[in-house]
């Protein structure tokens, strides 16, 4: 069976040429797995699965008629748009039953994933994976445990393709508003002791010889949402020397409670001002970053976690990587001033000198 016709696939079955199979994130994760990067194991629900759900459940017809009626309001009336979106997501989609063929497929894959991870009801992250880049448009749910929960949250991700901002985006870009298939990645949830981001350049200066890591205790969401000032580590990309370490006071962390819910809690005082990464973890993480950049051939913006359940160096987990978006897109004028020979360059440089004050 060709990949296009599958409803569910293992992530490693996807490669970078498959964005139309299960969305960009899934093929990205597949590529990372193929490149032997430490990505958590998981499977993907394809675009085909999305369509199977909307058609099989009959949701597509209701959505179509609703949108035909209210299309013009989506762009012009924000509160009305929210209302329509909420109706489609909660009243139309969330109430629908998953078609049996999907249920069976998901059951098989989830069971195998539980086997691989050696535990029952393995907690997973359920992440959206659009076929075109629309960062932050769709929802992602963390720490989902158990088959029924998983089904519910997959539907929630699909439903998020009808949130107001996504629909507005599609209208503005002349895309079909009533039908926007997205993939879903189901990944083993890292039991993150620490997590954060890593850039394979200096995000402040664009210096490509630097690796820049930010991290904090617990799950990564606290970093993104700005609740904590993270620790910062800067390394030389070539020698992997740690050039700078700034340890910040990290007051809170996101953790899972015994029931598996994500909660915010205060960091114990003795942990607040110590580094959330050991030196060997910093180095291993940077080495992994260097490897990822080499694989993609361009500077990367990487989300990582340290898995509490695993031993070093297997505890380094890469959650996501994408092309760094600022410096790699900036076409920098060369510093070299045209075709001048070294002597002339030296002469011009000496003319300018080094400014004091």
């Amino acid at each position: 069976m060709s990949k296009d016709n599958c409803l569910v696939l293992w992530l490693q079955e996807l490669s970078k040429d498959d964005p139309m199979v299960a969305g960009k994130k899934c093929c990205h994760l597949g590529e990372m797995l193929q490149a032997r990067l430490p990505v958590p194991p998981g499977f993907a629900l394809t675009l085909k699965a999305y369509e199977t759900f909307l058609q099989g459940s009959g949701a597509n017809k209701i959505i179509l008629s609703t949108l035909e009626k209210h299309k013009h309001e989506l762009l012009n009336d924000l509160s009305k748009a929210e209302e329509i979106s909420s109706y489609i997501m909660n009243e139309v989609i969330m109430n629908k039953e998953m078609p049996a063929v999907l249920k069976e497929n998901i059951a098989v894959y989830y069971e195998q994933l539980c086997d691989t991870c050696g535990c029952v009801d393995v907690p997973v992250a359920v992440r959206s994976s659009g076929p075109v880049s629309m960062p932050g448009q769709f929802d992602t749910f963390l720490n989902i445990s158990g088959y029924d929960n998983l089904l519910q949250n997959i539907i929630k991700v699909w439903a998020s393709s009808f949130n107001a901002r996504s629909m507005a985006y599609r209208l503005q870009h002349n895309m079909a508003v009533e039908n926007s298939p997205i993939g879903v990645a189901v990944l083993k949830m890292a039991n993150a002791r620490s997590s954060g981001v890593m850039f394979t350049l200096d995000p402040v200066t664009g210096d490509p010889s630097r690796i820049f890591i930010e991290g904090s205790w617990g799950l990564g969401e606290s970093l993104v949402s700005g609740q904590v000032t993270p620790d910062k580590f800067v390394l030389d990309k070539i020698t992997l020397e740690i050039k700078q370490k700034i340890i910040c006071d990290k007051a809170v962390e996101l953790v899972r409670d015994p029931q598996g819910n994500v909660i915010t809690r205060e960091v114990p005082p003795e942990k607040r001002e110590i580094a959330c990464l050991s030196d060997e973890e910093i180095l291993e993480l940077a080495r992994t970053g260097k490897h990822i950049e080499k694989h993609y051939g361009v500077a990367q913006d990487i989300e990582w976690a340290i898995d509490e359940d695993l031993n070093f160096p297997h505890n380094i987990i890469i959650l996501q990587t994408r092309q760094e978006s600022i410096w790699t897109k900036r076409t920098k004028a060369p510093f070299a001033s045209g075709k001048v020979n070294a002597t002339e360059f030296i002469a011009r440089g000496l003319m300018q000198g080094i400014k004091l004050q």
Partner: protein
């Protein structure tokens, strides 16, 4: 910036009490001006900083020779030979016995443009033909050193040899002696002409490479860059390498005990003579000496920076140390392969990171030029400051003996209290009185003067020279000022700040991060090479500046701190090589830090914390 801060006027620095009249020890053009208003105004506006890198001690009148030599030689290569675009020479003055220097710029944009054109033609020729010209340089310098080595400095006879008459020579050995003295001085000045033949261009290439690299890699530090540019087979490491080889040979031959148990070299040699293997070692020892034992125990800039030939127990003790290390199973080899691998890796990977093809090409070009220049930058010191100076100082001592014989001085080492012009006069006095058959004026004139000068120099030693006087400039174009002395906005501001805080209130000092790592330990402030044996294992070396001949003690120390110097100063090079933290160019470390004080040295940040 807020209001422009400046240092005190050079004319306002008070005299050290009891030294009044000190200016006469040095040539008149070394004093800050008193008689010319226009000149005074220039002096007040210029930026004069203390050259503690070369002169951690007050100037002896004779030792000023090398300063005079480079005053001219460095300057002329900037200004008149290679036409460095916006830079003339470096001006010199002495303040209370200490040497201050000031880079002189070119302001007129039209003149600068013309200078660029000339620079490209002239410097371009040297950059393109570097290796060939450097080959010629080595021949010139070798010949010059041989000439000085072969000079005969003999005392005057009661009656001239008959050959003077029968060969119709027509001149006396008195005249010859005066002429030889002048020749010797001129050879000294000539050696320094060569010293700067390549150096300005080498520094210029490096400074511009560094500037360009930091545009592409804003976080790149000089430590990384100098590893990419630096040579692997650096001549300055050769003398020490010879000692390690001798230590290994001793073990191979099984004669290590005779060496280790000997108090002095002579005792060892006597013991070794007794066996064939011992004799074999002695031969290797003799072969290893020339010219490598001309390694100075200091920088070679002062007459009392003795060479290993003069202080043979120093290399001998180092050999004993190395034997001890080998017996403990330690590896004493320089990590040459590692240095080479690191260099290749850095060059390859940094180059690969440059996305823009034009920049990549420019970087490669500049790097290639800097790499071509660097062997000279790293090696010239051995030829001139160590080898040539080592020979030169001892020729001067031969002349000193003649002065002692004629009652001018009590001791040969008093010769250094006369400057080169005064010595010419004294020698003329000596020779003429010999010719005339009368008592020379010198003994009565110079003995009193020398005693006074000894006292003045002692008083100068108690004076802490301010890091700078005059006004800070807005821009510095002079390559040496940037690279060798490491003058930056930060260093100037720190000097300004520090001059307003009492030394006992200072808890932190900043300098250049010259070699990475963080170490805590006790300070050992070293003011002269003689004190080096006071160093204990793990102590942090604090000195105004260090010399590569101190290399063996770097095995012992935990970190190094210097007052003066940029990334290419000796301490920086040696520490990088041996993986020790180093902070250089701190300005005030040796006058602020006391021996025994606990310090934290952060070689990554260039920070020294004085722990209570």
């Amino acid at each position: 910036m807020t209001e422009k801060r400046s240092f005190s006027s050079p004319h306002d620095v008070p005299h050290v009490p009891g030294t009044e009249g000190w200016e006469r020890m040095y040539p008149y053009y070394y004093s800050f001006t008193t008689e010319d208003k226009e000149m005074q105004e220039y002096e007040n506006k210029a930026f004069w900083y203390y050259d503690g890198l070369h002169y951690p001690e007050p100037m002896y009148p004779f030792d000023l020779l090398w300063d005079e030599a480079w005053y001219m030689a460095l300057s002329q290569n900037n200004s008149r030979i290679f036409s460095i675009p916006a830079s003339m020479g470096i001006d010199h003055r002495i303040l209370n016995g200490y040497l201050y220097i000031s880079p002189v710029g070119v302001d007129d944009p039209g003149v600068i443009e013309q200078r660029v054109a000339d620079f490209m033609k002239r410097a371009g020729y040297y950059y393109q033909n570097w290796d060939e010209l450097y080959g010629k340089w080595k021949d010139k310098v070798n010949d010059l050193i041989k000439t000085v080595e072969n000079m005969q400095i003999k005392d005057l006879p009661e009656l001239e040899d008959e050959s003077v008459v029968f060969e119709g020579k027509g001149m006396s050995s008195g005249f010859e002696l005066v002429r030889k003295y002048n020749e010797l001085i001129n050879y000294g000045l000539e050696a320094w002409q060569y010293h700067f033949e390549f150096l300005n261009l080498g520094y210029a290439a490096y400074v511009i490479l560094a500037d360009f690299s930091k545009k592409i890699f804003p976080g790149m530090d000089d430590r990384t860059l100098s590893k990419m540019v630096g040579g692997v087979d650096v001549i300055l490491f050769k003398p020490d390498e010879n000692l390690r080889e001798l230590a290994k040979l001793a073990l191979e031959l099984g004669v290590q005990d005779q060496i280790k148990e000997a108090e002095k070299l002579d005792d060892a040699l006597t013991a070794l003579q007794g066996s064939e293997k011992g004799q074999q070692w002695i031969k290797a020892f003799e072969d290893a000496k020339y010219p490598w034992f001309y390694m100075s125990t200091g920088t070679g800039w002062y007459h009392d920076h003795w060479t290993w030939f003069d202080r043979i127990e120093i290399p001998f003790n180092n050999i004993k140390n190395y034997i001890g290390m080998l017996e403990k199973g330690e590896n004493i080899d320089r990590p040459v392969e590692q240095v080479k691998e690191t260099k290749e890796k850095l060059v390859k990977e940094y180059t690969a990171l440059i996305a823009n093809e034009e920049d990549k090409a420019q970087f490669q070009q500049l790097l290639a030029v800097a790499q071509t220049c660097f062997p000279y930058v790293e090696d010239h010191n051995f030829y001139i400051e160590h080898w040539f100076h080592g020979v030169f100082w001892n020729k001067m001592r031969e002349l000193g003996k003649i002065f002692v014989n004629h009652g001018f001085f009590d001791d040969v080492e008093e010769i250094w209290y006369l400057n080169r012009y005064e010595l010419e006069q004294a020698l003329y006095d000596l020779v003429t009185s010999w010719a005339t058959g009368v008592k020379p004026r010198g003994p009565s004139y110079w003995r009193a003067e020398i005693n006074w000068r000894k006292d003045v120099i002692e008083k100068f030693r108690q004076f802490s020279p301010p890091p700078a006087v005059g006004q800070t400039p807005e821009v510095i174009n002079e390559p040496f000022t940037i690279m060798l002395w490491g003058i930056t906005t930060d260093s100037v501001n720190q000097w300004l700040d520090a001059s307003s805080i009492a030394p006992e209130d200072i808890t932190e000092l900043k300098g250049f991060p010259a070699s990475s790592g963080i170490v805590e330990g006790l300070a050992r402030v070293i003011r002269s090479p003689e004190q080096l044996n006071e160093l204990q294992d793990g102590e942090i070396l604090v000195a105004s500046t260090t010399s590569p001949s101190w290399t063996p003690i770097f095995h012992k120390i935990g970190a190094a701190i210097t007052d003066v110097g940029g990334i290419m100063c000796h301490a920086a090079i040696v520490c990088r090589e041996y993986g020790l933290p180093a902070v250089v160019g701190t300005g005030l470390a040796s006058s602020t830090i006391k021996t025994g004080q606990k310090l934290r040295v952060d070689g990554d940040k260039g920070l020294i914390t004085l722990l209570k």
